[in-house]
Symmetry: C2
Subunit: 201 residues, 2 copies
DNA sequence: GTCTATATATCGATAGAC
DNA sequence: GTCTATCGATATATAGAC
């Protein structure tokens, strides 16, 4: 281990990651709007100037949080794959989507509510990659009809997102029941959309 | 007209409304995050201190915008009522929801993305009143089964919201087609949920 | 009801030392 | 790669005059 034993007077071996961690905690406590580079610096014990060695500006750190969100989101959705029927997997995907919004709220906010410029951060467009990966499940259901599959996939995505957003907004209450309710509803709506998919075209 | 001809040195007969107007324009241009009381004051030509005669603080003006959003939203949804079948009315409601997000984006943001404290502004919980008004349409479809009606209404609401939120996020593109696409999909998803509603319970 | 003036805070970002 | 120091901008909010 060559450089791990740095010690010296610098606070971190990986300031970049530490700043992302601090940003997540900060967003959790104060929301995206309450986040600032200065406060994040304070929390990890460095000067306000230090972050600029790693991030071009405030939005750049926010974007780094969004990228982490992307990966966490993909992991949570992917966990639901590979068993049961396609229908049950899609319902589980909707549950995972809602769970992500609830259990990783700061990440959800960074990804969907930070107002980041997507032309500046094209990676964020890949937020839907994990969803797209499940699109072949939809293909199995719609056997061959790719137009129908696309329509159904879009409806499932929007419905899962809607339940997640409403949960985040407190529409299902604040307690621990809220997540269960939202997840149940999202899963049920998923199955209903599949059952009624003829009406999509 | 007694007091309309005020003239004198004061800039407004209705500063409160003028500030709300300015706030809407400001949110349109810079987003909720870019909104400030100071800039709104500047725009209507009063000092930064003037608003405090009408609003307790920044959030208080933001909440006033959200209340306006509430009414606009209700109007747009209500316009869709009263003809066609219940199914078609619900589909039209979903279209109106999406149209609201597109054509009144600053209001949509103030209502759903401003991070306002809902325990401080309980009126905002009434955002769903216009939706609830259409719940009896759902009742007609589910004839008697109130549990099924509640489940369907919740699914319709979340699905419409999901399409609106994704549209606002640019998920359907930026051009004028985006609204049409999102509205079509939201309406279709509404009909599909109705068709597949057995799966909701 | 609005103004001026001001106190206070915080932030983003840069320059230059180490 | 981090620090100190600092500039400039902007915000919220209050006090007191008019």
């Amino acid at each position: 281990m060559p450089s791990t034993a740095k010690s010296s007077r610098y606070h971190h071996g990986d300031l970049k990651a530490a700043l992302v961690d601090a940003a997540v905690a900060l967003i959790e406590e104060r929301g995206v709007r309450g986040f600032s580079l200065a406060e994040a610096s304070r929390r990890v014990g460095v000067s306000a100037a230090a972050p600029y060695r790693h991030f071009a500006d405030r939005d750049d750190l926010l974007a780094a949080v969004a990228v982490r969100a992307l990966h966490t989101f993909a992991d949570m959705v992917a966990e639901e794959g590979s068993r049961d029927s396609p229908e049950q997997q899609l319902a589980a995907m909707a549950r995972a989507y809602v769970r992500f919004a609830s259990q990783q709220r700061p990440l959800f906010d960074a990804l969907f509510n930070a107002g980041l410029d997507k032309s500046r951060y094209p990676e964020l467009t890949r937020a839907w990659a994990p969803i797209d990966a499940l699109l072949d499940l939809v293909g199995q259901i719609c056997a061959g009809d790719t137009e129908a599959a696309d329509a159904l996939a879009g409806a499932l995505e929007a419905t899962a997102h809607g339940h997640a957003a409403l949960l985040r907004d407190g529409e299902y209450g604040d307690g621990p029941d809220a997540l269960r309710i939202a997840a149940d509803r999202a899963a049920a709506a998923t199955l209903a959309l599949i059952a009624g998919r003829q009406a999509l075209r």
